[in-house]
Symmetry: C2
Subunit: 157 residues, 2 copies
């Protein structure tokens, strides 16, 4: 049987910087919308920031380094630990435990001083390695979304 194999079978990435926040890990989900953090980009990557201040919003991709190997094997979850919500696949929810624990946040860029970006809405813990930053554009905006009932109900509380 011939089957297409993904190439390569494992992928190595290196952090381009890290997150700095005074907030405690446990408070971050609750504070998320107003939380201000810093992203400290490694000096070696400084030229990659050229022009970034002309964008108001950025995607930040980060490595959720506190997700351990056991949590990476979890394929289904009760969202937010709520056992009254039926089990969902980890690709159908936004929880941290997933096979490749890459975090994704859309943040507001508040300011830049050299290799330090001041941002709002980054739900990453202090010390989190940052993998990539991409500008957020009007092409990333989609409306008329279909959302699961459990999610709509969670958000209405």
């Amino acid at each position: 049987m011939s089957r297409h194999k993904s190439t390569p079978s494992s992928i190595t990435l290196r952090p381009i910087g890290h997150v700095r926040t005074a907030a405690a890990d446990a408070d971050i989900p609750r504070l998320r919308r107003t939380l201000e953090s810093e992203i400290i980009i490694d000096e070696a990557c400084a030229p990659a920031l050229e022009g970034i201040e002309h964008w108001s919003h950025l995607f930040v991709l980060f490595y959720m380094h506190k997700v351990d190997d056991r949590a990476r094997m979890k394929l289904q979850t009760h969202p937010r630990g709520r056992e009254d919500i039926p089990l969902q696949g980890v690709f159908a929810a936004r929880g941290r435990d997933r096979p490749n624990p890459i975090g994704l946040a859309v943040v507001e860029l508040l300011g830049r001083e050299g290799t330090r970006l001041r941002v709002r809405r980054l739900d990453a813990y202090d010390g989190t390695p940052v993998l990539d930053i991409k500008p957020y554009d009007s092409d990333d905006v989609f409306t008329d979304l279909r959302l699961p009932d459990w999610w709509t109900q969670l958000k209405q509380r």
Copy 2:
């Protein structure tokens, strides 16, 4: 001098599936908005798809495996190869060449048959390893964006 070090210094990820498209690599940027592709999730990850069909739009994170080590060292770029646009940092543009070549697309989920997701707007080449899938939510929508002039001008053509 004490300096916060990102931990860990290198990160290993494994594909959870791969992209299938009939489109040639070179045609994908032009076709992007209407392009239909398939994401084939590895059987081992099948339970992680539970409930995904209740979301209309998904973030797909993929590994741009054709970006070679030399291209990963590029920190600035003329967007779309246009030398009339001033050099931009790779974190201030959406090109493929970047230190960690993780692709990010918002796709429309057209259908699911088992471990195969039919999607629209995925600008990934045939055979691209997929790293993660996350639902796209109304919280990911931002308006009143500030965009650089070079980008606004490119989009008006």
